[in-house]
């Protein structure tokens, strides 16, 4: 299991990290998810997922700058690693393959 599997939330977070590059940090990710995906996620979930992704080496992180609202605490910026990108790619191509079949069925379904 470890290393290659991506959960649904993990996938969304990972995609968001990619789309926010290079300014992906937890509150920004949360906001982006709420706006673009209509997903309300608590910040602690985002942190857990990010930690999990980092342990799987799908993202890597570094400290960035701080802002007054943060009380002097630095942001941690995340970015997608090559492994993370690959995992997303695989997931997407599998989905596309499934969609390929779906297309034939579409007329009947809709």
């Amino acid at each position: 299991m470890k290393g290659d599997h991506l959960g649904e939330l993990e996938e969304l977070v990972l995609l968001t990290v990619g789309s926010l590059y290079p300014k992906a940090y937890a509150p920004a990710i949360k906001k982006s998810l709420a706006e673009k995906m209509d997903r309300k996620v608590v910040i602690s979930s985002i942190h857990t997922v990010l930690n999990r992704l980092e342990n799987k080496q799908f993202v890597q992180s570094s400290f960035g700058e701080t802002t007054p609202e943060r009380g002097g605490k630095r942001k941690r910026y995340f970015e997608v690693t090559p492994q993370g990108f690959k995992a997303l790619e695989v997931l997407k191509s599998r989905r596309d393959a499934l969609w390929g079949n779906m297309v034939h069925l579409m007329p009947k379904l809709s």
């Binding site: 602690s44 942190h47 857990t48 930690n51 342990n55 007054p68 609202e69 605490k73 942001k75």
Partner: protein
């Protein structure tokens, strides 16, 4: 608007919930959100949301970022690079370490192979687990025991008997080529019973025919070269009834591996013996002469079968007899475990040798490993800066441990390679010297490779553990601020290791001296006879020599350079046999053939010419006809007789002895005679064994002994070779020197002791190597101190003394611990010898002194160098 700080209590809670490495970012993120909520939803709600969020972090309780940094491979590369740089930078240090460890490992591998070979004996038989040899005090038993077992007890599946008597028989080929060979005689199921694979022939039937012979592959080539050996006819002389008989080669077997206790090149069928008219002991129970093996059905308890011997004995021989016991010796254990039999037809190993060698192997490895650890920690001062910088750059302790293990692994692998090179060079000469095939230990390649691997890993763990744990524990601030506390650091560990190493070394030095002294003692011991300058010729048959004796004696005596001529059946170094003797005063008349004594057969003139001293009476004389049935006792036998047969034996001269043998087919009086003299004890066999009580007979002799003036030895040999043709002796011309023959009897023991000596010296050398390296580092460490002392006016001598003193103190402690250890083990070792030296004080004093001298001289090189160096050089730079 200035930011409002989030509730402090909740933040504190957060700090407790998550690990510190997450705290900064998460608390920052939360604070950011809090600001937003406070702005949009009001402060109270924001505080509630904040608290709820914080509580949710309970799920990240204790979770950590795992550092699977993607650059782990490049770090490993860096470790290897740094390790090699260190190797090259400190060449002498690396050389000492690798060569010490390499030599140590080579010794260990060699001993490992030796142990493998010794324990591999007779393990190749297919049903080996179920094969047992019948033995009690001898390695052989009567000819009836094995077949009776097989007939009467269904638990016994089959049996095989082997006779080793037919040695040095003349073998002639059809092209008149002649060889002298040892031949064994075995039951016809021999190749089916034991697993000696046949190259040619049928293992079930090859010995069925009385005139068949199976020969080894090497002998097939020796006899017939390229020709097909099967069906060839060879003549073997004096097999039965003294006749020369033709035998047809029916099988060729693969050469017998050296790790078989049975060693032979030609096998004749046992059936032959039934035709031997002179051999009438086939059915006799109380007469041990045949090597007998039985194969039990799987699962049979051999101890139960041992007890059945009593039943058989009572049933077939003597219904009254009680307490007859024999042993079922498993064939797989036979080689190592039945070395203390009274006599046997095969060579034996010795389980004690194996144990001693194993102990030495462990000691050598330990010493080499301690060297490594000592040198690595002594270098700590050099490496501590590196450790500090690595830690500051973010290295975890775990990574440093990995690094140091990697370094010791690299060193160990290089040492293993060196050890293998040493083995490749050293094994062939050792094989030749010790008459062993160490490469046989490699046949079981899997376990050998596994053994080497395990040993390598153990070495890496031992050598790497201390430096890895010690060096990695440094506090970077302490190192980098120049605080000396971390440098060199825990000297006591190093001191303990040095003491331990020298304890072992002192024990080994004392041990080596004792072994050497004991060997010398054995060599120089008064043998009770003079073996020098004595030539021994094997005449072939005692009848022939007896007929020709007057001529031979006269002719040889006239050769210039000959001091005396003798004939003898036994010569010192031979094994004598037990026979039955009834001494005057023997009262146990139920025992039909008296007590068992060793019968020692000599010819006229032998005792005198060999210089054996007489205590009482006289030796055999050619002029007194009754002397052919007279007896002479040795001193031990005389004392034994007084003990066993009463004080009348205080005066032994003229007392009668009856001599019982089985030569007539059953136990009967062979001859009866009087005692005419008592000799001083002389060493009739190996010096390792005590002198047995001997009853010395006068008897026809097979061997011609000639004592010569040493400078004329070659002339005498040439003259006798000429006469040999004239005498028409039944054997080819041959000769041996008595002293060499006698030494041959304890060659194995001596060789073993020599090997112990070599290994001890190697161990000491490795220990010194370590001390040499260590002293150089200590001197280097104190180089500034020495320079300051010199500047302040210290004399060179006092500096040398100061540096040496440090080590001498350690050696002093080592002496105190080493001496009792050496005493205990050497006393134990010496107790194996019948004739031994005493452990006197000077071994211990000398050993300790020697250790101190060796230590000082290894240390002094560096201390003198340090003491005489110009202080400017060491003080100039900080």
């Amino acid at each position: 608007m200035s930011p409002i700080p989030p509730p402090r209590l909740a933040t504190k809670l957060l700090k407790r919930l998550i690990s510190s490495e997450f705290f900064e970012e998460i608390s920052g993120d939360l604070a950011e959100e809090y600001q937003e909520h406070a702005r949009n939803k009001g402060r109270v709600l924001a505080q509630a949301i904040y608290l709820l969020e914080v509580i949710r972090y309970a799920r990240m309780y204790r979770s950590e970022r795992t550092y699977q940094s993607s650059n782990s491979l490049s770090m490993l590369q860096n470790y290897v690079k740094v390790a090699f740089r260190n190797l090259i930078k400190h060449k002498s240090y690396s050389l000492i370490n690798i060569s010490g460890l390499g030599i140590g490992l080579a010794c260990v591998f060699m001993i490992f192979l030796f142990i493998k070979v010794e324990t591999s004996h007779d393990k190749f038989h297919e049903d080996g687990k179920d094969i047992y040899r019948l033995q009690h005090v001898y390695g052989y038993i009567n000819a009836q025991a094995a077949p009776t077992y097989a007939r009467d007890y269904s638990e016994v599946a089959s049996f095989n008997r082997i006779n080793f008597w037919k040695t040095d028989r003349k073998v002639s080929l059809s092209n008149d080529e002649v060889f002298f060979e040892d031949v064994i005689v075995a039951d016809s199921n021999f190749f089916n019973f034991f697993t000696f694979p046949l190259v040619r022939g049928d293992k079930f039937n090859c010995l069925k025919d009385k005139n068949s012979v199976a020969i080894s592959r090497s002998h097939a080539e020796k006899f017939f070269g390229e020709e097909d050996p099967i069906g060839q006819v060879i003549m073997i002389d004096n097999v039965i009834n003294g006749e020369e008989l033709p035998f047809k080669v029916t099988a060729v077997f693969e050469n017998i591996p050296l790790n078989s206790h049975l060693q032979f090149n030609m096998v004749l069928p046992f059936e032959l013996l039934h035709d031997d008219r002179s051999l009438n002991i086939m059915n006799l129970w109380p007469n041990d002469w045949i090597g007998s093996y039985v194969k039990l059905k799987p699962g049979t308890n051999p101890e139960v079968m041992e007890e059945k011997y009593q039943e058989m004995w009572n049933k077939y021989y003597d219904a009254e007899a009680d307490s007859i016991t024999i042993d079922f010796m498993p064939i797989e254990d036979l080689y190592l475990e039945s070395y203390d039999l009274r006599s046997d037809y095969t060579a034996h190993g010795n389980i004690n040798q194996v144990r001693i060698f194993s102990a030495i192997a462990i000691i050598i490895l330990l010493i080499a490993c301690i060297n490594f650890m000592n040198l690595a920690t002594a270098r700590a001062s050099k490496r501590s800066k590196e450790v500090g910088v690595r830690k500051v750059m973010g290295a975890f302790r775990k990574q440093l441990i990995v690094q140091f293990f990697a370094e010791s692994a690299i060193m160990t692998f290089m040492a293993v390679i060196l050890a293998l090179l040493i083995l490749i060079v050293a094994i062939p000469p050792i094989n030749r010297l010790a008459e062993i095939d160490l490469l046989l230990g490699l046949t079981d390649i899997v376990s050998t490779v596994l053994g080497v691997l395990v040993l390598t890993i153990i070495t890496i763990i031992i050598t790497g553990s201390y430096p890895a744990l010690f060096l990695s524990s440094f506090q970077p601030i302490a190192i980098l601020s120049g605080n000396n506390a971390a440098r060199g650091g825990k000297g006591w560990v190093r001191k303990t290791l040095v003491i331990f190493q020298f304890t072992i070394s002192i024990a080994l030095i004392i041990g080596a001296m004792v072994v050497y002294k004991q060997m010398l003692f054995v060599k120089q011991k008064d043998l009770g006879f003079e073996p020098e300058d004595t030539l021994v010729f094997h005449f072939g048959s005692s009848d022939a020599l007896r007929r020709k004796w007057p001529i031979v004696k006269d002719q040889v005596q006239t050769i210039s350079g000959v001091t005396s001529v003798m004939a003898s059946r036994h010569i010192p170094g031979d094994n004598a046999f037990y026979w039955g003797y009834k001494f005057e005063g023997f009262t146990d008349y139920e025992d039909p053939y008296g007590d068992a004594w060793l019968g020692y057969y000599v010819g006229y003139n032998t005792l005198d010419a060999l210089g054996v001293e007489m205590i009482l009476g006289r030796t055999f004389s050619e002029d007194i006809p009754t002397d052919s049935s007279a007896f002479i006792l040795n001193e031990s036998a005389w004392k034994q007789a007084i003990k066993d047969y009463g004080e009348a034996w205080e005066d032994p001269i003229g007392k009668t002895i009856e001599y019982y043998t089985t030569h007539s087919g059953d136990w009967a009086v062979d001859k009866k005679g009087v005692v005419i003299g008592v000799t001083k004890d002389f060493h009739h066999h190996s010096l390792e064994r005590p002198i047995d009580p001997l009853v010395i007979h006068h008897s026809p002799s097979r061997r011609l002994l000639v004592k010569v003036e040493s400078e004329k030895t070659n002339d005498v040999l040439a003259s006798i070779e000429n006469l040999w043709q004239e005498w028409n002796a039944p054997a080819n011309f041959n000769y041996q020197f008595l002293d060499e023959y006698f030494e041959g009897a304890y060659k194995d023991e001596e060789q073993f002791n020599q090997f112990i000596l070599i290994f001890c010296m190697l161990a000491i050398a490795i220990a010194c190597l370590g001390l040499y390296g260590l002293s150089s580092f200590v001197a280097e460490q104190r180089i500034k101190e020495i320079a300051v002392r010199k500047v302040l006016g210290a004399h060179e001598n006092s500096i040398i003394g100061m540096l040496s003193m440090d080590f001498l103190k350690l050696i002093g402690v080592a002496v105190l611990t080493g001496i009792p250890i050496a005493y205990y083990f050497m006393n134990d070792w010496l107790s194996n010898f019948a004739f031994r030296i005493d452990l006197s004080w000077y071994f211990f004093v000398l050993g300790s002194l020697l250790a101190a001298i060796i230590a000082i001289s290894t240390v002094s090189y560096h201390s003198i160098k340090a003491a005489t160096s110009n202080p400017v050089n060491s003080l100039r730079s900080e």
